[in-house]
C-alpha cells in the first residue's frame, strides 16, 4: 500500500465554446515513504492538474487518488484533516502564499491550529520553533511580516509551514523555477537537507529535468496527460527514450564551462 498513489487518473477540463481538454488521460503514480520522485513535463502536459488532484482540489472524471489505501477526493473543509497531516504542499511562489497580515510565527503555526486543534499554545510554540529550526530560519524573524522578508526567507517560511505538520510527504511545485542562481542553489540545498533529515517523501513537480535530477532519484515524464517515461533521473537525463523526455533533456540549459 503506497503512501500516495493514483490509479488510472482521468481529468477532462470542459470549457465553454472550446474543445474539452483531456488533461490527465490515465495516470498511475506510486510514491513510497521516503521516496524522492519528480513529475516532469512541459507546460500543458497535465502537471498542474495532477498537482491539484494530488491535493484533493480537483474533481476526477475517472480513477482515484489514494493515500495509504484510503481514497482522497475533494471534500468539505475538515474532512481531509487526516490527509493534510500526511501530505503538505509548497507552492511555486512562496512569498505570495504567505498571509501579508500575519507574522511568521502565526503563518507557521496555522497548520497545527487547523489540523491538530487540541494542541496547547505551548506545544504549538514548540512545534513552530522546531520547524523554523529545521529550515534554518533565525528565530528572531518569527515576529516579522512577509513583506519584511527576503525571497529566500519567505521560501523558508513556506517550507517551515509545511514541515510543522510533520508530514510524511512534501509536494513541491516548481521549487527552483525563476530563482536567480544563488537562491536556486540555496533552495536546492535546503530541500535536499530537509528531505534527508526529516525523512519525508518528496514529490517535485517541474518542467525542468535538471531541477528534478538535482532533487530526486526517480522521475516520471508527463506528456499530454500520460506518463510516457519513468526511470532514474540520471538515466532519463542521459538516455531518454521517449520524444517528450528527449526534448526535456535536450532543453536542459548548459553552461559552457570547460
Amino acid at each position: 500500500m503506497s503512501l500516495l498513489a493514483t490509479q488510472s487518473l482521468h481529468v477532462v477540463h470542459r470549457r465553454r465554446r472550446a474543445e474539452p481538454v483531456h488533461a490527465l488521460a490515465g495516470v498511475d503514480v506510486a510514491v513510497e515513504p521516503g521516496d524522492r520522485v519528480a513529475l516532469v513535463g512541459r507546460s500543458g502536459s497535465g502537471k498542474s492538474t495532477l498537482v491539484r488532484a494530488l491535493l484533493a482540489l480537483q474533481p476526477l472524471d475517472a480513477g482515484a487518488v489514494t493515500c495509504q489505501g484510503r481514497p482522497v477526493r475533494p471534500a468539505r473543509t475538515g474532512a481531509l484533516r487526516w490527509y493534510r497531516r500526511l501530505v503538505q504542499y509548497v507552492p511555486q511562489d512562496p512569498a505570495l502564499s504567505l498571509d501579508p497580515r500575519a507574522v511568521v510565527r502565526e503563518v507557521v503555526a496555522e497548520p497545527v491550529r487547523r489540523l491538530e486543534p487540541g494542541t496547547s499554545a505551548a506545544a504549538r510554540e514548540a512545534r513552530v520553533a522546531e520547524a523554523l529550526d529545521a529550515v534554518g530560519l533565525d528565530p528572531h524573524l518569527a515576529g516579522r511580516r512577509p513583506r519584511e522578508l527576503s525571497g529566500g526567507q519567505a521560501q523558508r517560511v513556506a517550507l517551515a509551514r509545511c514541515l510543522v505538520a510533520r508530514p510524511q510527504l512534501v509536494l513541491a511545485d516548481e521549487p527552483l523555477s525563476g530563482l536567480d542562481p544563488p537562491r536556486r542553489a540555496d533552495a536546492l540545498a535546503l530541500l535536499q537537507r530537509v528531505s534527508r533529515e526529516q525523512g519525508t517523501a518528496l514529490v517535485v513537480v517541474s518542467h525542468d529535468l535538471a531541477a528534478a535530477a538535482a532533487l530526486c532519484e526517480r522521475v516520471l515524464v508527463l506528456d499530454a496527460g500520460r506518463v510516457v517515461e519513468e526511470g532514474s533521473t540520471a538515466e532519463v537525463l542521459t538516455r531518454p527514450s521517449s520524444p517528450a523526455a528527449r526534448a526535456l533533456a535536450d532543453a536542459v540549459p548548459q553552461l559552457p564551462l570547460a
Binding site: D180, R184, T233, L237, V252, Q254
Partner: protein, 333 residues
C-alpha cells in the same frame, strides 16, 4: 481566413504618426566610448551607450535619497548581443527600464543613455522618436499584449509606420509570425492572445517587438516564465532574429546558461554597479569579481551535473562537443 482588420484602440495607435527616424550610419559621439571595456566583435556603430547611469529614489517617497544604481556604464554595438547578468535586486532590470525610458515614477535618473548617439535618458519611452525607442520583450507576455486586439493587428501596428499598402503589412505580419516559429500564422494572426499558450504568447510578443524594427531589442528575463523546452525554442528565435542582420540585443537575465546561448559579451551588475564585463566565456571560466564568482558557482551547483560515470548526452561525440557550446549563437541570421 478573414482579412478583416480590427481597428486598434486609439491609445495604442498614438505613435503611428511619430516621425520615422533614420538610424543607419549614425556615428556615436567621439569620446563616448568606454575605456577599458571589451569591444564587441562586430565593431559596428554603437547602438546603445549607457554612461554613469545613476538612479535614486526621488522626492517625498519612503526611502528617499536611496541610490539604486551607482553609475552603470555599458555599450552595445550594432550586430551585438550583450547580456546584463546579476542576482535579484542587483539593478539589472532597473538598467533596462532606464534604457527603455520606463523608470517607475518616483525614481530619478542621472548620467547618460544614448541611443544611436542621441541622448534619451530624460525622454520617456512613449515620447521618443521611433528609432530611439528600444523594442522590448519582458518576462510576462500577457502584460505585453493587448488582450482584446488580435495578434495580427498588434504586430501590424508598428509595421504600418513604414508600409502603406495593406497587403504589404499583412504579408509582413504573417512573415514575422512565421519567423518566430508560430505554426499556422494565419490562424494566430486572427486570434487573440488568450487563445495562445504561454510560449506562443511570448513568440507573439517577440513578433511585435521585431515589428518595431528598432535598432535595439531589450529582453528582460524573456524565458523565465516558460518551460525549458519552450525556452530553448524562444532562445533559438532570439538567436536567429537578433544580432547580425537584426536588432542588437540587450539581454537581462540571472540565468547564465540562457545568456551563454545568445551572448558573446556580458556585463555583471551587483548592488547597482557594473562589477565586471567581458567575453561571456571568460566570465564563466575565470570570474574575477566575487559577485560573478558567486553567480557562476551557484549556477554550476544548481544545474544538475551529469552523474559521474554516465555517458554524456547524445550518442555521437561531436554532439557532446556541441552540447557544451552555446547552441544558437552561431546560427545563421
Amino acid at each position: 481566413m478573414s482579412t478583416r482588420r480590427p481597428a486598434a484602440p486609439a491609445v495604442l495607435r498614438s505613435h503611428r504618426g511619430a516621425s520615422a527616424r533614420q538610424h543607419a550610419g549614425v556615428e556615436p559621439a567621439s569620446g563616448y566610448r568606454g575605456r577599458g571595456h571589451v569591444a564587441g566583435s562586430g565593431g559596428g556603430p554603437a547602438v546603445l551607450e549607457v554612461r554613469d547611469l545613476r538612479v535614486e529614489v526621488d522626492g517625498s517617497r519612503a526611502g528617499r535619497g536611496t541610490t539604486l544604481l551607482h553609475g552603470v556604464r555599458l555599450e552595445v554595438r550594432a550586430g551585438e548581443r550583450v547580456a546584463v547578468l546579476g542576482a535579484s535586486g542587483s539593478g539589472k532590470s532597473l538598467t533596462a527600464a532606464a534604457v527603455r525610458g520606463h523608470l517607475a515614477p518616483g525614481l530619478r535618473a542621472t548620467g547618460g543613455v544614448r541611443l544611436l548617439g542621441e541622448e534619451v535618458l530624460d525622454v520617456p519611452g512613449a515620447r521618443r522618436g521611433r528609432g530611439l525607442r528600444p523594442a522590448a520583450v519582458l518576462q510576462d507576455p500577457s502584460a505585453a499584449l493587448h488582450p482584446l486586439v488580435t495578434v495580427g493587428a498588434q504586430v501590424a501596428m508598428p509595421l504600418r509606420a513604414r508600409r502603406t499598402r495593406r497587403a504589404d503589412v499583412r504579408a509582413a505580419v504573417l512573415d514575422l509570425l512565421a519567423s518566430v516559429g508560430l505554426e499556422d500564422p494565419e490562424r494566430v494572426a486572427g486570434g487573440r492572445p488568450a487563445e495562445l499558450s504561454g510560449g506562443q504568447r511570448q513568440r507573439a510578443a517577440l513578433a511585435v517587438a521585431l515589428a518595431c524594427e528598432s535598432p535595439l531589442l531589450v529582453a528582460d528575463e524573456p524565458t523565465t516564465a516558460l518551460d525549458t523546452v519552450t525556452q530553448a525554442a524562444v532562445l533559438d528565435v532570439l538567436g536567429r532574429r537578433t544580432g547580425r542582420g537584426g536588432p542588437a540585443l540587450l539581454l537581462i537575465t540571472h540565468d547564465l546558461a540562457v545568456a551563454a546561448a545568445l551572448c558573446s559579451r556580458a556585463v555583471v551588475v551587483a548592488h547597482g554597479r557594473v562589477v565586471e564585463q567581458g567575453a561571456l566565456v571568460d566570465l564563466l571560466t575565470g570570474p574575477d569579481h566575487p559577485a560573478t564568482r558567486a553567480l557562476v558557482v551557484a549556477s554550476r551547483d544548481a544545474v544538475a551535473p551529469l552523474p559521474s560515470g554516465a555517458p554524456p548526452r547524445g550518442s555521437a561525440s561531436e554532439e557532446d562537443d556541441a552540447a557544451l557550446r552555446p547552441t544558437t549563437a552561431d546560427a545563421p541570421a
